[in-house]
């Protein structure tokens, strides 16, 4: 009979500190890049008055979407009572909190006036989805902290199902809010549709599961963590389901745009004539991000570990390109100010497809944000008991469920 025993991340101190300092180095580079951008102004970035949101936003939105998604594992365990995932649940919540903090850090550090964060935290316009998101994001960290507490402390463990359900509801609303940042932009043809909210939700489910698996794989290299075949099979099924759901909503989004006459030109742009954006859509978002992972996940020749690792890497790569297509591609297409006219001359680039080449500072900030997430995870698992020593079959976990939490 197996027990779930949660332990700290036991790792050779040399490996821990070398990873800690490496991540810390990238984090500092991120801060330095942000500081330079603030001192010099955003003209040192690739962003301009045409492409107003750039690489930092790709990183930030992706990390926030992933933050919501990695909570899948905990949600399945607590909300849907899948005992199979119970040993993996606390780590899932830690990852969620880490990615959320990192995403928010990038978003704040890219502001024109990051020193006015206090204004953003104290002055609200409740008609703005951005304002709501400030509450949703900061509230989510509190909810997650409470959820982790109920999962890890035996005395309050009885509340973990309630907190899990609460966190599940919160994350669905949170990702709806993130998708709606774009969905509520009525002026831009790429956005202006409520379908973006459910699309972002399925993207979060897919990306979060992939990221969770990859991080678990890395941890298991250093820490004895046996992942049972049941879990691997289940993760494969889940990922396949999320991939098809993603494909469905993506197709629905583009079909809707094609049906709306005034959005048709944008659809032609993104699907066929948009150059780098079209290539990114088909090759990156669709083929690398969805089609290849579906094929891999249903391959009988490769081992489950291999299948999940390779498909997760592909999904992650596709997720980044998907954000590029949504955020940059959506802005690159010029606004239709005169539906019956063609703009033939403008000093403000009204009549051209905008180009965007990110600067090294934006890349530095983005990578710094990812390093921040990973360093929180590293310190978290090294100091608190997040990791199960044995991840075993559901039956045996069922049998010891009442006595298991250490």
């Amino acid at each position: 009979m197996d027990k779930i025993i949660f332990t700290k991340f036991i790792i050779n101190p040399k490996i821990f500190w070398s990873n800690f300092f490496l991540l810390g180095f990238f984090m500092l580079i991120g801060f330095a890049c942000s500081h330079y951008m603030e001192l010099e102004g955003h003209h040192v970035t690739g962003m301009n008055n045409q492409i107003v949101w750039g690489l930092p936003h790709i990183f930030a939105v992706l990390l926030i979407v992933i933050a919501s998604g990695v909570l899948n594992i905990a949600s399945i365990s607590s909300v849907f009572d899948k005992k199979l995932y119970k040993p993996l649940a606390p780590l899932s919540a830690l990852l969620a909190i880490s990615f959320l903090i990192a995403g928010l850090a990038i978003l704040v550090l890219d502001l024109g006036r990051p020193n006015r964060l206090i204004v953003a935290m104290t002055t609200y316009n409740f008609k703005s989805i951005f304002s709501w998101n400030i509450f949703l994001y900061s509230g989510f960290t509190v909810v997650l902290a409470a959820y982790i507490w109920t999962m890890l402390d035996r005395e309050v463990n009885k509340y973990s199902k309630f907190m899990g359900t609460f966190a599940f509801g919160w994350r669905i609303i949170l990702t709806t809010g993130t998708g709606s940042i774009f969905g509520f932009l009525v002026a831009r043809e790429a956005y202006s549709t409520a379908i973006l909210a459910p699309l972002f939700i399925v993207m979060s489910l897919l990306y979060g599961t992939a990221v969770y698996y990859l991080i678990l794989r890395v941890i298991s290299k250093y820490h004895e963590t046996y992942i049972s075949k049941d879990i691997l099979d289940n993760l494969k099924k889940l990922s396949t389901m999320f991939l098809f759901a993603n494909l469905y909503f993506l197709a629905l989004y583009h079909m809707t745009n094609m049906y709306i006459a005034k959005h048709l030109d944008f659809e032609i742009f993104i699907l066929s004539s948009g150059g780098v954006y079209t290539l990114a859509f088909w090759l990156g978002q669709v083929i690398i991000g969805i089609v290849i992972p579906i094929i891999l996940l249903n391959s009988k020749k490769l081992s489950s570990n291999m299948v999940l690792t390779s498909s997760s890497i592909m999904i992650l790569l596709g997720s980044f390109i998907a954000m590029y297509v949504i955020i940059i591609g959506g802005q690159a297409y010029p606004l239709t100010i005169f539906p019956d006219h063609m703009i033939i001359e403008s000093a403000f680039y009204d009549n051209v497809v905008h180009s965007y080449v990110p600067s090294i500072y934006e890349l530095g900030l983005g990578i710094g944000g990812v390093a921040l997430a990973l360093i929180i995870i590293l310190v978290g698992i090294a100091n608190f008991k997040f990791l199960p020593t044995m991840i075993s079959s559901p039956k045996s976990i069922d049998a010891v469920d009442n006595t298991s939490n250490n």
Binding site: N49, G112, I129
Partner: protein, 250 residues
């Protein structure tokens, strides 16, 4: 003791100069300060919701190649750029457009359209992007955090983000790095009692009279008359933003 005591009946040269300058200052500078203080009184008064500031552009009068409105805006608001057109601020720009059906080419100025339902105000998280009771849509430079969400939301690409350190701001138009800005209908001039914006004034000086500014609530205002005499339309009327900037003649 007697030797070091000053003779108070005569002024020293230094005292003479100091007192003379003080007297001249009192005569010339103080009245000027007082008159300025009086002129700024309307700034303290609440903006009346009865006032409806608006602009009408008659595109048939707008001359191709003329950029006097743009230059006047730059001077009025100190929008001196850095020769980086992708990041330099533009509050007003000239466009040449061609009718898809008739191939007729038109030129017109494009600026913030001062919507009654402004998307930029809806999306701003801090309320820095706001609409005054008199219809002027502008940015509070003290509470803008530089998120640029308003720029994403604006259907007319009317807003600019200040991408670099500024050194030549004018006192009448506070601007700063890291904030978003746009045409504010020369709010400083209007609040000081002016009846014209810099762009309208420049257009009139050129003798084109394509831009007409005024208060829509007054039936005899220039803008009311302009709209009455020639039918006008709002850009992207399908969005129902009820802009206060309208265009006639196309």
């Amino acid at each position: 003791m007697r030797l070091i005591m000053k003779d108070r009946t005569h002024l020293t040269r230094r005292e003479f100069i100091v007192k003379s300058i003080t007297a001249i200052s009192a005569v010339y500078i103080i009245p000027d300060i007082i008159s300025k203080a009086e002129a700024s009184k309307p700034l303290d008064a609440e903006v009346s919701p009865k006032t409806k500031w608006a602009i009408n552009v008659d595109v048939t009068k707008c001359v191709d190649g003329c950029t006097s409105c743009v230059e006047a805006c730059v001077d009025e608001n100190g929008l001196y750029g850095f020769d980086r057109p992708e990041t330099d601020s533009q509050w007003i720009r000239k466009l040449r457009i061609k009718d898809i059906k008739t191939d007729k080419v038109t030129t017109l100025p494009m600026m913030c359209q001062h919507c009654e339902n402004p998307p930029c105000v809806d999306v701003c998280p801090t309320g820095a992007s706001f609409r005054r009771e008199d219809g002027i849509v502008m940015v509070n430079q003290h509470t803008c955090i530089g998120c640029r969400y308003c720029m994403m939301a604006c259907p007319f690409k009317a807003r600019s983000f200040v991408h670099e350190n500024l050194t030549e701001q004018v006192t009448s138009a506070p601007r700063g790095k890291g904030c978003v800005e746009s045409c504010n209908l020369c709010v400083n001039r209007i609040d000081h009692g002016s009846e014209t914006t810099a762009c309208e004034e420049a257009c009139m000086k050129e003798g084109h009279n394509a831009i007409t500014f005024g208060d829509l609530s007054e039936p005899d205002s220039r803008v009311s008359i302009a709209i009455k005499t020639k039918s006008s339309r709002r850009l992207r009327a399908d969005m129902r933003l009820k802009q206060r900037v309208t265009y006639s003649g196309f």
